[in-house]
Amino acid sequence: MGNMSTSDLLLLAAVALPLLLALAAIKPWVRRRADVLLLLAPLPGLVAALAVPVGQSLLVVPPPFRLTFALDMPGAVLLGGAALLWLAAGLYAVFYLKDDPARGTFCVWWLLTLAGSFAVFLVADVASFYLAYALVSFSAYGLATHDDTPEARRAGRVYLALTVLGEALLIAAFVMLASSVTDANPLIRDAVAGLSASPWKEAILLLLLVGFTMKMGLFPLHVWMPLAHAVAPVPGSAVLSGIVVKAGVIGLIRFLPWGEGWPDWGAGLLAVGLFTAFYGVAIGLTQRHPKRALAYSTVSQMGVVAAVLGMGLKAGDGAVPALAAFYAVNHMLLKGAMFLTVGVVASTPRGRLLPVLAVAALLGLSLAGLPFTGGALAKYAVKAPMGDGLAAFLLALSAGGTTLLMARYVLLLLDVAQEGGEALAPRGLLVPWAALSLVAVLLPFGLFTPVTGLSLGTLFSLDTLIKGLWPVALGLAVGALIYQKPPRFSEVPPGDILAAAAPLGALYARVRDSAVLLDMVLRRWSTAALAVVMLAFVLAYVMAGAAFSPPITP
């Protein structure tokens, strides 16, 4: 700790500053300066992502407690993207919530979620990762439920229930994983290295996969995502759908054993990912609100990321995590910008909507991988590990689905536009939105070569262009057909298969009520007195069995 370099300080400040600001926000006069808070908080993270060399690590507290920060390529990419989105969405939020009396509380949740999201990308030891993961997960509840409507409360309950379940699965996995190492709190890297020798490797992998893919919103544990992402205030939705879900991605990147092949588990993740990619599109198409359509698009996109990671896990390809992170950061910025669009449209009169819709369409097409957009680079980056088989074809086809869903999103935007009025959306919303949109489309060009090691020139071959173009063209063509002759369908309620979990709720109520009944019986004097006597006999009997049966000597 004595001699810290600037890089070390930046890594530390990336997490520490937002936490300190959240603490300072106890004071009402600090809380009132939301503009300063939300602007300052992501800055150290942004500078760290740009300036700190990849490979830098920092031991903040020595073992056995051990708090370690380290910056690797996936972490740096995600950290930088997240910092940009936090910054843009933060500026947007300052204006968006300027008349909200509960703005101060929102700021505190914002800062905590921000700190947690930076920390998951940066920490390198198991216990700190769990802490950071819990911080980002639970603080996000405050963002999602800010509007405090009945829907928001319900979404919050579902979110919390699954989050607590996820935490339980992960702690079980981490404890088993860490037990292969003698350290009290090992580095994630060292713990994962012992996985293949662990007697519980199957159980650990299962728990890790279920725990982290739940956060990413993979089928069938995606049910919370369309609920929570649709009810938050617009800037909150942007960071939830853009950044918070990436905690699951970084979890898989950090904790899965790359570099050695796990064919069965890889294939399983691949299959679930591909299914989710199509499932998200299918349900998303039925939605009637642009934010819900976007939330389902996130479900679908995280399916793509999972499929890529699954392929890497199957093949034991250590290069895949960085590529998946690149894909994820592309989605992060685009999805953030698309959520901000919803708020911009809502304060733009119908007559002046066209430029905004054009940007929305561009963002959507970039997400689908239209050539010459940033998204095309992300799609291209993950093509190589996908190979040439069925999986690669399905992944390309899912881009067609994305195009379709994005077209639906742009049309749905029309419904939320302002009815009358002349003025453009206020500058406080327009500027951060426009800046983020620009960055979202362009940033992948800057990141492509450093992350993939390929030159941008490879992208402009005819073959690549065709491969990028046909899914988009197919999606647009199908979209046009549907638009001509819209089929009748009703909206699938957000959370879709959550309705199927109703028997679980009934089961829980039954179990709880029988526990209450049992408790009532046990709290009678007669039962309790009998229990005392019985227990004494049981204890005596058990001891007698141990003491007086020949094989066991006391």
Binding site: P64, F65, A102, A127, Y130, L131, A134, F138, G142, T145, D148, R153, G156, R157, L160, A161, V164, L165, E167, A168, I171, A172, V175, M176, A178, S179, A184, N185, W200, V511, R512, D513, A515, V516, L518, D519, L522, R523, W525, T527, A528, A529, A531, V532, L535, A536, F537, V538, L539, A540, V542, M543, A544, G545, A546, A547, F548, I552, T553, P554
Partner: protein, 504 residues
């Protein structure tokens, strides 16, 4: 020579002082005007805390247990007081919680006369607090079964009136229940002690442990004493007295009952099964204790989820959390390198539960004071009225849920690690399920409190510094989350020789 004498003297004084000093609060309470007496009481609590800290520091520095024989009389005739690492740990924990309880119970300085009358705890509360303190310390230090019996009785008779301080009918009923069941436990304990005296002619724990063999009489005595302690600890299914007693008492009293008083019988169970009983018997009984603990966690948490009132919810949570301490036994009694970790985890759980539960009862009391009720359905928006208390409740709950960075997290990880390594998968599953259920009942309350109320709440003002006392306790519980994830050597100082070799 004189140096050795001096330090020996200081050791004696610390041990005797820990038991006697809290009682120094009694004369001023009888003689001085209430306000002054209250302040003097808090000073005495502070002094007792300092003694406990000095004692722990001494044990830590010596690396050996501190022992004395009162009046120089050695057992079997005399009475011994002995502080090993675990006792010192319990002494400090108790002293911190009770000092905080004293601060919490103080009359608000400068409050308007009308409000003072409502907020003031009667002198009886302070006397009982001092007596509970002294009795607990005696439980943690006494070396022979008869002194322990006296300490337990003193504890019961000091704790029971705390339940019915307001004199309401329901409270008196709850107190009677508590009293009768605790006496039931005492009788069983006494029965066991009498049998042991008959068998070995001594009541000194160390002498008995040396002489003990698995004879039928000894088995019977152990069974009786254990069940007596289980009744006093409200271990499932013997918890009938706990929910009404802990939820009916005034918040300051609930805090100390649920946080520390309930830990005394558990401390003794640990001593019985780890110090007194031959290992073979302990290994045989441990699964039974753990089974009851598991039932306590599952049933207690589920019933907590169904409670309509906040204080009842917290009381059932106590009934559930006690289960973890029993879940520890099968992991701690076997001869394995992992048992040291399980044992440290159990002790940490005990302490972080004490601090978090005291904080939660205080916070619940403040919420009830602000709203005029503690119906969970009416808690919507209470976070705005008492924000600091809500944070205290939330942080305390964090520890119960076993989430980082709280002490409950470290305890849970230690217990889980030990369970997994010892192939006790069912114990691991219960620990995880208990965390989920705790998440259910804690987050239910926090979620409601964070909501915006439908109509503006009619809120009575609450003294802010009392909220801060609750928060301070919750922060101590969180602070335990920064303990390294490895067996604590302090807890093993002076533990019986059978433990040697298990400490890495």
């Amino acid at each position: 020579m004189s140096g050795i004498l001096g330090s020996a003297l200081a050791g004696d004084m610390l041990l005797v002082g820990a038991v006697i000093l809290p009682l120094f609060a009694l004369p001023p309470l009888l003689l001085a005007p209430p306000r002054l007496a209250e302040r003097l009481s808090v000073l005495v609590l502070l002094a007792s805390l300092l003694v406990a800290l000095a004692l722990a520091a001494r044990v830590g520095a010596d690396g050996a247990a501190l022992a004395t024989f009162i009046g120089g009389w050695r057992p079997p005739l005399g009475v011994g007081l002995r502080a090993d690492g675990f006792s010192a740990f319990m002494l400090v924990m108790t002293a911190v919680v009770l000092f905080a309880t004293g601060l919490f119970a103080m009359t608000t300085p400068g409050a308007a006369p009308g409000r003072v009358a409502r907020g003031r705890m009667p002198p009886a509360f302070w006397m009982l607090l001092a007596s509970v303190f002294s009795a607990l310390n005696l439980v943690f230090l006494a070396e022979d079964l008869f002194t322990l019996y006296v300490a337990l009785e003193l504890l019961t008779f000091a704790a029971v009136p705390l339940v019915c301080l307001d004199g309401k009918l329901a409270q008196v009923e709850a107190a009677l229940r508590y009293l009768l069941f605790a006496l039931f436990g005492s009788v069983l304990y006494l029965l066991g002690a009498v049998i042991i005296y008959g068998l070995y002619g001594t009541l000194d724990i160390i002498l008995v442990a040396r002489a003990a063999s698995a004879s039928p009489g000894f088995v019977l005595a152990l069974a009786a004493m254990s069940v007596g302690m289980m009744a006093k600890a409200a271990l499932f299914p013997l918890h009938l007295w706990l929910p009404p007693a802990h939820s009916g008492a005034p918040p300051a009293a609930s805090a100390m009952l649920s946080a520390v008083v309930i830990k005394a019988p558990i401390f003794l169970l640990v001593r019985f099964w780890l110090d007194l009983a031959p290992t073979g018997l302990a290994v045989a009984v441990a699964p039974v204790l753990a089974g009851l603990g598991a039932a306590a966690i599952l049933v207690g948490s589920l019933v907590a989820l169904a409670q309509p009132r906040l204080k009842l919810l917290i009381a059932y949570s106590t009934a559930a959390q006690i289960g973890y301490l029993f879940l520890m036994f099968p992991l701690a009694v076997v001869a394995s390198p992992w048992s040291a970790l399980a044992w440290t985890g159990g002790a940490l759980h005990l302490a972080s539960h004490a601090f978090s539960k005291a904080a939660m009862f205080m916070a619940a009391g403040l919420m009830a004071e602000a709203l005029g009720h503690d119906r969970i359905s009416g808690l919507s928006g209470v976070g705005r009225a008492v924000p600091v208390a809500l944070v205290a409740f939330g942080l305390g709950g964090l520890s119960l849920m076993g989430l980082p960075p709280a002490g409950g997290f470290i305890a849970k990880v230690m217990l889980l690690s030990a369970a997994i390594h010892l192939d006790a998968w069912w114990i691991a599953a219960v620990i995880l399920a208990g965390g989920l259920l705790a998440g259910g009942y804690v987050l239910k309350v926090v979620g409601l409190a964070l909501q915006r109320p439908a109509e503006p709440l009619a809120v009575r003002p609450v003294a802010r510094w009392r909220e801060w006392v609750a928060l301070a306790l919750a922060l101590v519980a969180v602070g335990f989350g920064f303990v390294p994830l490895e067996p604590s050597s302090f807890l093993f100082i002076g533990r019986p020789a059978s433990w040697a070799g298990l400490v890495p």
